[in-house]
């Protein structure tokens, strides 16, 4: 279950607070005030950005892509990029 769950009342609940839904319904991209932009000409596909993303907001793909739905804009990827090909941009 990756969608928001509608609970009308006790009839929709297990007897204890048992959570079966996934937090991925929660699009944390809305927290962001700066956005990473990858310069793919410079990117070496080293995947350090993916490795150090606390929000799993960079895809494990070649090339890596920012998943804007979830990126909180922390800037770790830009800071860690060994070739400095990620820029944190405002207003995106």
């Amino acid at each position: 279950m990756t969608e928001k769950i509608d609970i009308r009342g006790a009839c929709d609940m297990p007897p204890m607070a048992k959570s079966l839904g996934r937090m991925s319904w929660n699009k944390t991209g809305s927290w962001r005030n700066v956005t990473p932009v990858i310069d793919y000409d410079k990117c070496t596909r080293c995947m350090l950005c993916w490795k150090f993303c606390p929000d799993l907001a960079i895809s494990c793909t070649d090339p890596p892509e920012i998943i804007l739905d979830y990126c909180k804009g922390c800037g770790v990827c830009a800071e860690e990029c060994p070739v400095k090909c990620i820029e944190m941009k405002e207003g995106l």
Binding site: I7, G9, A10, M13, P15, M16, A17, K18, S19, L20
Partner: protein, 382 residues
Amino acid sequence: MREVVTGNHTVSHAARVARAQVVSAYPITPQTQVVEKISEFVADGIMDAKFIKVESEHSAMVACIGASAAGARAFTATSAQGLALMHEVLHWAANARLPVVLANINRAMGPPWTIWTDQIDSLSQRDTGWMQFYADSNQDIFDSILISFKVAEQVLLPAMVVLEAFFLSHTAEPVDFPEQEEADRFLPPRVATHTVDPEHPAAFGGLTGPDHYYELKYMEHNAMLEAEGVIKRAAREYGDITGRYYKMADPYACEDADTVLVVSGGIASTAKDAVDEARAAGKKLGSLKIWAFRPFPREAVRELLAGKKRVAVVDRNISFGQEGIFCTEVKASLYGRDGAPPVLGFIAGLGGRDVKVRDLLAIAEAAEKADCPEFNWYGAKP
């Protein structure tokens, strides 16, 4: 099979016969013999269980919570300070809806240090969401533990079986143990739902806001109410196997009684002797043993006490500044009912002071006086 055993060893045998799978406990006088015997059972392979010898009662309850959450049948035993130390996680067990069973040996709370009995330790846990059963004999202890497991696993609430320090814990009495097959028929292996299981990932007990917390409490209360019917059914089924039928509120010579003593724990068996003695002297005395304290048998109390001239509640406990706790519960059950009798409260036997037949007769006599106060310290030397 009939054996002469102490109350404490009765508890150990009950855990064995109930096939508890994880036992976790910490020693405290007067409970120690319970865990010593279980250690032997487990070490000798008589009991197929894991015994986690924890460093505190808090961890004892937490380990039971973990084991129960994994789907195992979990058991522990404690007393007084130990139960108080568990308090936080007694709530956790109940709110997580885990059918842990605990035997509490009633011991008075310090300071001053004391090892003798009263009920303040267990009654202080009244609102944790645990069922509570007060035993009046070693046989009652054994039977209550088996019935508790069955009920707990059905309604998903933990249960506490309470027995008095020394008067029961260290007193040997004959106890009938059912054959293991009989016990297994009454209490088959736990069919656990909502377990912590890597094949079915889920989070349990995460942050819950006002939108949902309220409904969880609503369900917990309903489970406690539902427990009343489940207890009655389980007690009937158990009676059909053993011939011993337990009642949540158990009357003795109540029908035509003018005065009824409301009693619990070991005092309940003393009360029967007091009633017999009073009856022999031509007095219409009866007694009502409260076996199940949570859920409280409100309906039965109303029915059994309706129309009596007076009710004297004997409390081996006190809620300071109010009165005895059973007294409050009885009054709350009777309030506003037609034919509700006057209810007189008597504190007695705190810190292990013996409550004998003559004390109960004196209480009955005091209650019968027209000017008897509503609240009394029986036998206190001011």
